[in-house]
Every structure is written in structure tokens, then in C-alpha cells.
């Protein structure tokens, strides 16, 4: 019996294997960035920094800029977050704290099922069911009551930035909700009971105990959802309108980086066109990287203030 010896060697091998896996991820990451960079070099050389600020997208004249697609990506994601975050936190609170016992399990499962629906199904459903609803009811109502704002003007087509933001919100909502619910469920019972014992209302317990306690977890859930919204492709392609125009109106069609890639990759026949599309991909990569980086920093700072 050479157990001690075996154990030691086992540990070393195990450590080596896991290290290799971890390094493999890093190598993959570097390879992706390197490849994107290499493939987009022609476009980087031709357009330089102005690629990011130019609103041109003209395959005939080989003149490309990412500005409109970047704005579209950020605006649709921002819209989605504005809609999805409050609703999903509400859903999570209800399921974790307020719902009667018999409701919790089926509702929780239903939400997790929503998260598993493929995005193209959301896209189709949006196009065939929600887009007409938006154009016939929601958008005319918005235009009538809030038409003085530049965001709600123009023809109500049911296809455009607002619908894209809505579909994104709907897609990330189950993600955020189910993770947030788990976070709330982890709040120690004795903390809550102590608060109730001091005469707190449910609202006060939620506001002063549960949300501060779960802050980090909630933020994690939100950024998980945001990551998905930034890169979402098919659902957006169906409803955003795929037009390279900038407009203040959320009714107007726009485009996002991911939808532009989905649309144009197969038929990009000139080298500079293809290279510009790859550079768009690189830009999306960087945006995601920066957003998640900021999130990490913010979480670290927030962590010192309390919570877990």
C-alpha cells in the first residue's frame, strides 16, 4: 500500500490537468482576439479610428463604419435592461418571499423553461405575434400620449428599436429572474426573522435586508443578462429592421452589430467588406469585454460596502 505516495501523485496530475484546461481557455481567448485582429487588419488600415465614428455602410463604394451598429447594440441592450431588470427583480422577490408555497415550484420551473427557449423562436414569435400588436396598439398609444418626446414619433410599423429592446428584455428576463430568486433564497432566515421581529414590514425587509444582502448576486445576474443581450443575434435580426439609419425615434428601424453579422456575412464578396464585418465582431468583443470589466470593478468596490 503506497497510499500516501499515490495521493501525492494523484494531486499533481489532477492539478496539471485542471491547469491545462484553464490555460486552454486563455489560449482560446487569445486566439480569438488574435484572429479577429488579423482578419480585420485590412479594414483597420483603410478606415483607422474613423471606423468607430463613421455612420457610412456602403457595400457598393466599399465605405464602412461601425457607428450605427454600435449605437444600435447599446441602445437595444439599454432598453432591454431598463425593462427587464425591475420586472425580473420583482418576479424573483415574489417567488422567493411573497408567493404561497404551492405556487413557488411550478412558477420557478416555468421561468427556467422560458430561459431555455431558443432565441430564434422568440424572434419568430415576436415578428408574427408581437410586431402586429405593437404596431396596432402599443405604438399608436405611445405616440398619442408621449408623442411630444422624440422617442415616440414616426410611423408605427411594429418593427424597430423599441420592439428589439422588448424582445431582448423578454429573453433575458428569465435568466435574471431565476438567478436573482436563488440569491434571495440564500438570505439567512434568521436575518429576516430578526427584522420582522423588530416590527419591519415586508417591504422594509426586502429593501433593507434582502436587496443589500443579495446585491452582488443580483448584479451578477444582471450582467449575465446583459452579456446575452449584447450578443443576441437571431431574435434581433427578425425585428430590429436592419436599416443603417440613426434616429431618435425608438419606432424607427436600426441595426445591431450581431444582426449585421448575421445578415451580411454570407454575401460579403469584397475583401474589405468581409474585413469590416470581422472588425465589427472585434468591436462587439471589446464592448462586451469593457462592460463586463466595468461590472467586475464595480462589484469589487461595492463589495467593501457590505453584503456578502
Amino acid at each position: 500500500m503506497k497510499t500516501a505516495h499515490n495521493k501525492k501523485w494523484g494531486d499533481v496530475i489532477f492539478r496539471g490537468i485542471t491547469l491545462a484546461f484553464a490555460l486552454g481557455i486563455l489560449a482560446l481567448f487569445a486566439a480569438i482576439v488574435g484572429n479577429l485582429w488579423h482578419e480585420s487588419l485590412p479594414s483597420i488600415h483603410k478606415f483607422g479610428f474613423s471606423f468607430l465614428t463613421s455612420d457610412a455602410w456602403n457595400p457598393v463604394k466599399d465605405d464602412f463604419g461601425a457607428y450605427i451598429a454600435i449605437v444600435g447594440t447599446l441602445v437595444s441592450t439599454l432598453l432591454a435592461m431598463l425593462i427587464a431588470v425591475p420586472i425580473s427583480i420583482g418576479v424573483a422577490l415574489f417567488l422567493a418571499e411573497l408567493a404561497p408555497e404551492w405556487m413557488k415550484a411550478p412558477f420557478g420551473t416555468a421561468i427556467e423553461l422560458l430561459a431555455a427557449i431558443p432565441s430564434i423562436v422568440y424572434g419568430m414569435w415576436r415578428l408574427f405575434v408581437l410586431a402586429p400588436l405593437m404596431s396596432d396598439h402599443v405604438q399608436p398609444w405611445l405616440a398619442e400620449h408621449f408623442g411630444f418626446l422624440p422617442f415616440f414619433t414616426g410611423p408605427a410599423m411594429g418593427i424597430g428599436m423599441l420592439t428589439a429592446g422588448l424582445v431582448l428584455a423578454l429573453m433575458i428576463l428569465p435568466f435574471i429572474a431565476s438567478v436573482t430568486r436563488d440569491v434571495f433564497l440564500m438570505v439567512p432566515q434568521n436575518l429576516k426573522e430578526a427584522a420582522y421581529g423588530m416590527g419591519c414590514t415586508t417591504w422594509e425587509v426586502v429593501r433593507d435586508i434582502m436587496i443589500p444582502y443579495g446585491k452582488k448576486g443580483i448584479a451578477g445576474a444582471v450582467f449575465l443578462g446583459m452579456g446575452r443581450a449584447l450578443g443576441e443575434t437571431m431574435a434581433i435580426t427578425f425585428v430590429i429592421g436592419n436599416a443603417y439609419h440613426l434616429s431618435w425615434s425608438l419606432f424607427a428601424p436600426g441595426t445591431s452589430i450581431a444582426s449585421a453579422l448575421a445578415n451580411e456575412f454570407t454575401e460579403a464578396d469584397s475583401d474589405i467588406y468581409l474585413s469590416s464585418l470581422v472588425e465589427l465582431g472585434l468591436v462587439l468583443f471589446l464592448i462586451t469585454f469593457i462592460v463586463l470589466g466595468i461590472a467586475q470593478l464595480w462589484l469589487k468596490r461595492g463589495n467593501q460596502g457590505g453584503g456578502r
Binding site: 457595400p59 408574427f128 460579403a268
Partner: protein, 348 residues
């Protein structure tokens, strides 16, 4: 014992995996245009029944088809946009036309049925340029006396992906509108000044069906299958014509293929009283010098069979088959142009 079973299984497996290899010559591969895909797959189905030869055609789009044939991953490429003779020479390719069809503007206006709305050539261009923005614009109503057109915004729908259909459509607009030619031009994707982009023919069809007050352009078959309201379009002779197989044929009839260098021929805006103005052909691309002559011969045999026996299937799917005279011309070109490595003709 276990080892024996394993060995037996290995032999069986390798026998199975070599079986398809032996038949590999009986499968021809191609990639490209989506527009002729339905008819190519119908032909392939019929041809397979007769000869046992299989066609594996990937409808990835015209640009993709050109890319794949240049990369030599397929036996033939297919494109709705013909390559110019100079470009063919540069890559050592040859092309020939295989099938023709029409691109059809369709509208969705309350109360307007197929064949009711008349648009002049300049109307269509101005709508797509964003110069005409309302359906009751005087320039449109002037051609449509007696038709009640609403004071509604026009929602323009175009393709969001690069497409041979767009190539044919913008080729037409470039011919009829100096403004279009100057600012936008003719390509598989252009910098659309207005409108929504739908992915694929089905995407454009879906947007037009959903959005009231919209206009889009799709392949004829999509307009028919989706029961969409096509327009009457003014042709080069000044008459308003409907998109029908007969009118596509009329546009194709006048084409002088014998003088088209490298079969570079665009069928838009053709003369003739009943010619549908947005007609186009779809092309097959092959390497002039074939590394695998046997494989190339299978491709030629398939398309030769299709020229001969495919007309009926094509018409049933609302395409226009190539006239017999053009097919003969193409066969002659095969004979003179396609060679194996030693310079022997492949098609005899």
C-alpha cells in the same frame, strides 16, 4: 473472444465506410444562389431517380457560391449576378445561364389587390430613393385614376442580406433612374436610403405582410405562394405589365445570347410590349481547366439533362426555362472551353 468481436466490428465498420467512397463519383456538389434552389432540387430529385446520381446543392447565396467555387470546395458555383468576362478570365472560370425568373414588387395597402396599383418606372425608383413618401403622392395617383390611395406613409422593405435578387432589382433601378445610378448603384447589397431590411425573400415577404402601407420586392414564387399584392409595372415600351411567366418569357425572348461575351447577360428593362422589366437569369460557374474531369462531366451531364427534360418542372415552379437555342449554344461552349489538365475536351 472480445478482441475477435472487436476486430470483426472494425472490419465491418471499415467496409461500411468505404462503400460510400466507391460511390463518391456519383455525387456532385454545388453551392450558391438561393433563387434557383427550388428548381435545382426538383431537377436533382428527378435526375437521381433516373440515373442514381446525387446532387448536393447548398443554397448559401450567390456571393457564397462564387467564394466556394473560387476556393474549389465545390464542383460548381451558382450565382444570380453574372460575372463579367474579365473577372471570369482572371479566375479561369466559365459561366452559363441555367434558368430565368422575375423579381416582383409587392405592396400591402388596405383595399388594394394584386394587379390594381400601377407604378411607373420612375415612381418605383423614387419610392426606393425616399423621394416619394406617401401613397397618395400626386406622382402615384396620376397613374392610378379611380384607385383610392390612402394618405399613408410608405414603408419601404428591402433585403438586409446580400442577395442576387437585390442585384437584379438594383440593376433595374440603375438602368431607369440616373439618380439611383449616381448615388447607390448596382450590387448585391447597397446603402439603402430608406426602409426596413428583411432577411431573405421570406423575411421581406413577412415584413410586407405585417406592415400596412409597405412595399417590397421578392422572387415571383414567393409573391405567388404568399398571395401577395403584386403591382403593374411600366416597362421600357411604356405599357403597364403584370408579373406572369408569359411576361418573363417575353423579356427573355429578345435576349441576344450569342453576342453576350462569357454569357454576361442582364435581362432587366428589355424592350417588348409585354416584357416584365425586372427579369433575370441565374448562372452556373465552372473552372475551365478541370482537375477532376470525370466529376465535371457528371455536372455537365446533369445540366444537359436539365436543359432537355427540366422545362416542365421549371414552369411548374414559376421559372422560365432557357430556350433550346441557348442550350445548344451553351453545349457548344462546353465543348470548346472545358478542358482537362492535358487539354482534352471534357464534353464531346
Amino acid at each position: 473472444m472480445k478482441k475477435m468481436i472487436f476486430a470483426a466490428a472494425m472490419i465491418a465498420a471499415s467496409a461500411m465506410s468505404t462503400a460510400p467512397l466507391a460511390q463518391a463519383a456519383a455525387t456532385i456538389t454545388g453551392a450558391g444562389a438561393t433563387f434557383p434552389y427550388p428548381v435545382y432540387s426538383q431537377w436533382a430529385h428527378d435526375y437521381n431517380k433516373e440515373t442514381g446520381v446525387k446532387l448536393n446543392y447548398q443554397s448559401i447565396g450567390s456571393g457564397g457560391g462564387i467564394k466556394q467555387i473560387k476556393a474549389k470546395t465545390v464542383d460548381f458555383g451558382a450565382s444570380d449576378a453574372p460575372l463579367k468576362a474579365a473577372e471570369l478570365d482572371k479566375f479561369g472560370l466559365m459561366q452559363f445561364p441555367m434558368i430565368m425568373g422575375g423579381v416582383v414588387p409587392v405592396v400591402h395597402i388596405k383595399g388594394i389587390k394584386a394587379g390594381q396599383l400601377k407604378l411607373s418606372a420612375s415612381n418605383l425608383a423614387d419610392i426606393y430613393l425616399g423621394k416619394i413618401t406617401k401613397w397618395n403622392d400626386a406622382r402615384i395617383t396620376a397613374n392610378n385614376k379611380g384607385l383610392r390611395l390612402p394618405a399613408q406613409d410608405i414603408t419601404v422593405v428591402h433585403r438586409s442580406d446580400g442577395s442576387g435578387t437585390t442585384w437584379i432589382f438594383t440593376n433595374y433601378l440603375t438602368k431607369i433612374s440616373a439618380d439611383w445610378a449616381k448615388t447607390l448603384g448596382n450590387a448585391k447589397a447597397v446603402a439603402w436610403p430608406v426602409g426596413l431590411g428583411g432577411k431573405g425573400n421570406e423575411g421581406v415577404a413577412a415584413f410586407v405582410r405585417k406592415v400596412n402601407g409597405s412595399i417590397g420586392y421578392v422572387e415571383y414564387a414567393y409573391a405567388l405562394q404568399n398571395h401577395m399584392a403584386s403591382i403593374l409595372l411600366q416597362n421600357l415600351n411604356g405599357t403597364y405589365v403584370a408579373p406572369t411567366s408569359a411576361n418573363f418569357q417575353a423579356a427573355a425572348a429578345g435576349a441576344d445570347w450569342s453576342h453576350a461575351k462569357g454569357y454576361y447577360m442582364v435581362l432587366t428593362n428589355q424592350p417588348g410590349a409585354t416584357s416584365w422589366p425586372i427579369t433575370g437569369a441565374s448562372f452556373i460557374l465552372l473552372y475551365k481547366t478541370q482537375a477532376k474531369p470525370a466529376q465535371a462531366k457528371e455536372v455537365l451531364k446533369f445540366y444537359n439533362w436539365s436543359y432537355k427534360n427540366g422545362a416542365k418542372a421549371a414552369e411548374k415552379l414559376d421559372y422560365v426555362p432557357m430556350p433550346a437555342a441557348v442550350a445548344d449554344m451553351v453545349r457548344a461552349t462546353w465543348k470548346s472551353v472545358l478542358k482537362d489538365k492535358n487539354g482534352h475536351a471534357i464534353w464531346k
